[in-house]
């Protein structure tokens, strides 16, 4: 279903990203790795928000559990990095499935409250369970993780991150076009009709929850070795909001949107570092402007512009504008929810 042209562009972008990561200085490498793991988290959140139309303000909790599990399995149980990562993903998927049970009984603002509560619970467990988590002092990774005997440098983490982002994009596109992806979007449009087609809504939404939680765990497993140190303050509530912000600004429902959003979320604070404590203010204003000017996110805006300058390219609503529509719908819903 993915056209040849977009495949070509994807391969080219991949090569450029890998090439740049191979030669960039250490600061740029660190930024690339951070953007990659944020993008993975945003792609996961996009499954929940962009496809299933559900909102979560506690997703950073999954990332925290993922990061803590990875570090604990490596430091305390002596697992190799890859096995620890897999363990973290499995554990977080289970937690995600368990959270989905109560969370999916409620919707709109109540779902947001349940997920916020989840985020706070995770944060306080990491603070209070000192024996396991080191409390406020956090956990230190004693040595850089190694894969098959090679110690992972920051540069190799960045490259691995890029590979995973592209894999994530590919999987997201496939999920979006699978029966599950369509069922998620259908349930967002009308629940009763979805049920009347024999589709079990609870299953569909729980799957969306689990997939997005697993992606957060992977991001957490990349985060820990990149920082070398994790503590409760590495996963503040604000970060959940920023991830949502990334997905919405980039364009919820589109594959590429969360990646662009993730880049913004990481790079803007760096670019605005002169503003110090006014950074958040600038962020808020930007969110306002983007939602006002481009309710379908940056990807949607670009597609609108492309459609404007090439009106004859697609005389009928093709897949391109179809995607734009779905994005606009979901982001409209989100803004409505956000305002309640």
């Amino acid at each position: 279903m993915i056209s040849r042209a977009s495949l070509l562009i994807a391969v080219a972008a991949f090569a450029i990203a890998i090439g740049y990561a191979a030669v960039a200085d250490s600061y740029a490498v660190f930024l690339i790795a951070t953007i990659s793991l944020t993008a993975i988290a945003c792609i996961g959140l996009n499954v929940l928000l962009g496809l299933a139309g559900q909102i979560s303000l506690g997703h950073i909790g999954f990332m925290a559990i993922g990061a803590y599990t990875t570090v604990l399995l490596m430091e305390k149980a002596g697992w190799p990095y890859l096995a620890a990562t897999a363990g973290a993903i499995v554990l977080v998927s289970i937690v995600g499935g368990l959270l989905a049970l109560p969370a999916l009984r409620v919707r709109g603002p109540y779902l947001a409250m349940v997920t916020i509560a989840f985020g706070f619970i995770v944060e306080h467990v990491t603070i209070e369970w000192r024996d396991l988590t080191g409390g406020g002092n956090g956990l230190m990774l004693s040595a850089p993780p190694s894969v098959f005997g090679y110690a992972l440098s920051e540069r190799s983490l960045a490259i691995a991150g890029i590979v995973l982002v592209f894999a994530g994009l590919f999987l997201f596109e496939r999920l979006k076009r699978s029966g599950w992806g369509y069922a998620m979007r259908a349930a967002r449009d009308t629940e009763v009709a979805t049920r009347s087609l024999g589709i079990d809504l609870v299953h569909v939404r729980a799957v969306a929850f689990v997939i997005s939680a697993a992606a957060m765990a992977l991001a957490g497993a990349l985060f820990a070795p990149l920082q070398g140190y994790i503590s409760p303050s590495s996963f503040p509530f604000l970060q959940s909001v920023l991830l949502l912000f990334g997905v919405m600004v980039g364009g919820a429902g589109s594959a590429l949107g969360p990646v662009i959003g993730a880049a913004l979320v990481v790079l803007l604070p760096e670019a605005l570092s002169d503003l110090a404590e006014y950074r958040l203010l600038a962020f808020g204003v930007l969110l306002f402007v983007v939602l006002r000017a481009a309710p379908s996110g940056i990807v949607g805006l670009v597609e609108q512009l492309v459609a404007k300058f090439r009106p004859r390219a697609s005389p009928r609503p093709g897949p391109r504008s179809r995607r734009r529509m779905s994005i606009r719908r979901s982001s409209k819903r989100i803004t409505r929810r956000g305002s309640t």
């Binding site: 279903m1 999987l171 496939r174 999920l175 076009r177 699978s178 029966g179 599950w180 992806g181 369509y182 069922a183 979007r185 259908a186 967002r188 449009d189 009308t190 009763v192 009709a193 979805t194 049920r195 009347s196 087609l197 024999g198 589709i199 079990d200 809504l201 569909v204 799957v207 997939i211 009928r316 609503p317 093709g318 179809r322 529509m325 779905s326 719908r329």
Partner: protein
């Protein structure tokens, strides 16, 4: 379906209803508003759990199965307001249904050549032309209906339930729909329809089940139903006009309300078409017509409520009000007592009444409310009770009293008798009669045509959004068109069209 029952908070919506729908036959469930048709349908397709009775699909007991499981064993449905997945294309809508809940792997594509061929075949079968990659949101109302039926068929059902499939369709669309439903039944599927469009029901159905007040009052084929006295009574009411001595009326001059060339739309579908209507001061006017004829839409358009979106001219006395928002019209004296009563359930009776007078300044509120208690003594006993706890009849009285406190110059009542027991209806209409004799200008819409005509001086008969006939209430009451509009019938409907053509 045997002895099926359900009640909601004391209202017994469906009581011991039984019938059998045969494969290859069209079974229709009809009845006046509030008869329990939609509740019966929701019981059949698993949205409600019955409190008594059984539903059998072939030899299998499917009572109380949830809707998605029912869909998997072969019960498909469509909805009163079409429920397509608007952000998916037509084809994707069908393809998703074709899976019957088995969604496959999380990364394996939904679309494949074989099922796509099947989906295209279904769309052609349902009569959907054109590009199947259009978004479902972009379709016209009629097309949406057909796609929804095709989507239901993609489940390869044994039973197809349709909730008011003809609502909002044009005549041509209705004919195509009727033919399509017949073709579906010919495939050996049991088709069950809840519908108001009598001509369609009468021509299409093999079996008709008539509900009223949640009970089955008649069952049989079209001819038997049309001649059944219980059915006539349920639809037309039994109060005959002109049988009570009328209070002397003040001379009626001038106009209290004038509507000119009013068109109304719900989205793209047209609900009203060039309505012209005049109400004189102190006059009582009934607006009659089958369900879906546009009666409620007309009242909402006059009151300025949205939806619908309407164009045309509405004047209250000499003032043009069609550009005013609803709350300004209410202050100007256009007061609507809406269908379903809409009292504020969490507030007490007294607070409800006080809110009715909210916009009126310099009013002796206590005296006004006291006057309402004289009119409706039952409300006085309930003064501090929460309105949500009142009975249906009391809520209707409260809604009327609240409307009166708003200071109406024209008082519009939408289906005041809906879901009420006959005695309560009589009591209500007696109070309307008192209002009329006091000189209130009244416009009433009611499913009980007999009651509405007994109250009214003049009546307008609506069909598919246009005025079919108007005249003095007692003349309209005798008109065969009235019966045709409510009960259908080929010959009569034909006569109606001819008459309407002559009238224009």
């Amino acid at each position: 379906m045997t002895d099926l029952s359900i009640s909601f908070g004391g209202v017994r919506a469906v009581q011991g209803v039984s019938f059998q729908a045969a494969p290859g036959a069209v079974t229709s469930i009809i009845g006046p508003n509030g008869a329990g048709k939609t509740s019966a349908l929701n019981l059949l397709c698993g949205f409600y759990r019955p409190q008594g009775g059984t539903v059998m699909l072939g030899d299998r007991d499917v009572t109380g199965m949830t809707s998605h499981l029912l869909a998997r064993v072969g019960v498909a449905r469509t909805f009163q307001t079409t429920q397509l997945f608007g952000s998916l294309t037509i084809l994707e809508n069908i393809l998703l249904a074709e899976r019957v809940g088995r969604l496959g792997g999380v990364v394996s594509a939904l679309r494949n050549a074989e099922t796509e061929g099947f989906a295209r075949f279904l769309l052609r079968f349902a009569g959907v032309d054109g590009d199947v990659d259009r978004l479902a949101d972009s379709l016209s109302h009629g097309e949406k209906r057909l796609v929804e039926i095709a989507r239901a068929l993609a489940l390869r059902p044994r039973i197809l339930l349709l909730d008011e499939p003809a609502a909002g369709l044009s005549k041509g669309d209705k004919q195509r729909l009727t033919a399509l439903l017949r073709r579906i039944a010919d495939l050996g599927i049991a088709v069950i329809i809840v519908e108001h469009d009598m001509p369609m029901i009468m021509s299409l159905s093999d079996l008709i089940v008539v509900l009223d007040g949640g009970k089955r009052i008649a069952i049989g084929d079209a001819t038997a139903i049309r001649n059944d006295p219980a059915v006539r009574k349920a639809y037309l009411g039994d109060a005959t006009p002109g049988d009570k001595s009328r209070a002397p009326r003040p001379a009626r001059q001038g106009t209290a309300l004038e509507v000119k060339a009013l068109d109304s739309f719900y989205g793209l579908s047209r609900a009203l078409n060039g309505i012209d209507l005049v109400v004189a001061p102190g006059e009582a006017v009934a607006v009659l017509g089958a369900n879906g004829a546009g009666k409620t839409t007309l009242m909402r358009s006059i009151a300025g409520l949205e939806p619908p979106r309407s164009t045309g001219e509405v004047r209250l006395a000499e003032t043009r009000i069609d550009t005013m928002p609803a709350h300004v019209r209410a202050r100007a004296g256009v007061v609507l007592v809406p269908e379903g009563r809409q009292v504020f359930p969490e507030l007490t009776v007294k607070q409800n009444l006080e809110l009715g007078a909210y916009a009126r300044k310099g009013l002796d509120l206590d005296a006004e409310i006291e006057a309402m208690f004289v009119r409706f003594p039952r409300l006085k006993e309930r003064i501090e009770q929460r309105a949500g706890l009142l009975s249906g009849g009391e809520q209707q009285m409260l809604a009327v009293a609240r409307g009166l406190l708003t200071g109406p110059k024209i008082f519009m009542l939408d289906e005041p008798s809906l879901g009420l027991a006959p005695l309560v209806v009589d009591e209500l209409f007696a109070s309307f009669e008192r209002l009329r004799s006091e000189g209130m200008t009244i416009m009433v819409v009611d499913q009980m045509a007999g009651h509405a005509l007994a109250l009214a001086d003049r009546a307008y008969l609506l069909e598919t959004g246009a005025i079919l006939k108007s005249g003095a209430a007692d003349i309209i009451a005798e008109d065969p068109l009235l019966e045709a509009a409510y009960l259908g019938g080929e010959a009569q409907a034909g006569a109606a069209q001819r008459l309407a053509a002559q009238a224009r």
